[in-house]
Symmetry: C2
Amino acid sequence: MEQSLSSSFTIGFLGAGQLARMSALQAFRFGLQVAVFSDRKEDEPTQFLTPFSYSGSYSDVDSMLEFADKCDVITLENEFIDSGVLKELELRSGTPVYPSPESFALIEDKLIEKQTFEKAGIPVTPYRKITAVSDLISFGKEHGWPCLIKSSKGGYDGYGNKTVRSADSAEEAFRQLGGDQGHTLIAEAYVRFTHELAVQVARNQTGHVVYPCCETVQKNHICVAVKSPAPVTSAQQERARELALKATGAIDGTGLFAFEFFLTANGDILLNESAPRPHNSGHYTIEGCVTSQFENHVRAVCGMALGSSELIRPAAVMINLLGTHHRASRIENSGKAVMEPDGHLHSYGKLISKKGRKMAHYTLLGDEVEKTYSRALQLTEEIAI
Amino acid sequence: MEQSLSSSFTIGFLGAGQLARMSALQAFRFGLQVAVFSDRKEDEPTQFLTPFSYSGSYSDVDSMLEFADKCDVITLENEFIDSGVLKELELRSGTPVYPSPESFALIEDKLIEKQTFEKAGIPVTPYRKITAVSDLISFGKEHGWPCLIKSSKGGYDGYGNKTVRSADSAEEAFRQLGGDQGHTLIAEAYVRFTHELAVQVARNQTGHVVYPCCETVQKNHICVAVKSPAPVTSAQQERARELALKATGAIDGTGLFAFEFFLTANGDILLNESAPRPHNSGHYTIEGCVTSQFENHVRAVCGMALGSSELIRPAAVMINLLGTHHRASRIENSGKAVMEPDGHLHSYGKLISKKGRKMAHYTLLGDEVEKTYSRALQLTEEIAI
């Protein structure tokens, strides 16, 4: 605790997007210094809020060493760096990386991730490793069409995934995802779910906290809204939270982790995906909970005691504000939203808007989740970015 | 509104201390860019959170022009820059300065400040311009000893002020404050007060909001704690809020203003001091109010609609955490404080602790102000910085 509250203590973020930015804002509150490393030269959200910006390649440890030497601890905001690279960075710089490369190695590859959680007794979506088109066809026959085929590494917001509608399109999908070039692929059963749920967990040597179970509303594989608590039974909420905590334990995680689940029509809860970092599903926690996912991310990786994850109001809803235009970024028609006492607008400072790009979000607190959701949609419907 | 929510919009702070830092953190939330200008070369709190740091002299417009050209709007975090310099900076750079140099000119000098507010019908502490020792002696005779003598410019946390206990010590005090070198001085009556009150006001062309009336607890002329709402009658609270709004109007203020009042033994409320910027008395608003003084500071100077200033809980208390050692800054024994769900620790990132230096603060929310104050003292009593 003491070390982490020294004002010369520097937390380094690998990745400079909005997740690092919102974590950095919390680090500043504790008086810490922030450094950032990105593989892009262009201005990114977190690069605007520190004098300590580094760039290079995520696959080249040499290019990261100067950054690592500046930092007292390093953390991630994405899954784009190989755990082997992280391990080498940690060894060569002597700067600890959290979540640890060992934890990350258990989930960076979708195939290994499924095996890790399955071994821990956590129900996962039915899956199979696919090394030939015939594997995919037999998986589809067994679990029904359509099914999903995914790259085991590097998928993100719908990229690296394909829906396979029948045996006829199996070969094309296999080739599109590079199966014929030796890329590791997995097939996943197409789960009929009633809700997509998410839970964040913060954990370090001082203990752990589990956030409320929320619902993510997806459109074209992109999260457009989050409702917390999820409008499901409290037994279902508790089940998802138990599984999330168990999953964090299964990888001996230090940091902030997010888990996405399917609630199936017959009431089963299946783990779908995990992320070793703050997650879009937890943005609502900034105003919605006593301690946000970003604050607990910083606390967890700096070795500080964790803060309460409880909701401060009965309901919190987050609306993702996606780019509506391709232009220099500006937010128009936000007057209604920002004048609402229970509403909170967050913009990520991206200089360029693109249609569908995650530019900002809006959180509204309230007393009942569905009413709060309707009102949040109303308050944000005219916003143009 | 639209202009101010562009991600290339840059708000510039003259001054790089904790007030600019906490305002900057709010600007980032809106996706804005932050630039900072300081007259110090050493690392200051706000310099750690932007790549756009400038330094030079507060009295030399030339040294400020590069900074001003980077900014879309400029604001202040202290009163150390002459309004004439601000006006010249605005004219030469074309970048607007808020609060305007015209508003600032009405309060930068304590003598003019008193006259401004008196003319607006706001009761102020009895005062007189002192140009000779004999003025001070006759003022003391009229209003009683002790009285105060103050430099009309540049006073801060007890600097530039002297208590004059009798006619015998008048000459020494007059000389110590430079009266014999032509410095403008004023005498102020020593007001017997039961409470020191403070109110913040945010105001721009879209409207105004007035914060709750809080009490500041002072020790050796330094604010050590703030209780909100102030433990005085609601009529007294309302009277202070009315006077604060009237005072903001009297200088046609755009920005965030703080006013300090004395509540006298016979129930009068006298304006003591004003500040054209966020103020230590309003730090509790970060978690205590719907919209903090820092957020409304940013909103006000960027031309955005202002947010509600209402308390979100019945009581909020802020404890200033002053340096306890002279050493590299670190916060020890804060475990109790940071694990308290209603408590919020803010550290300013200063690299060096000094005894009595404002290093951090702690805000505790609760249901009753005196109980919350006792608890906040308990939670922070072991903290060493």
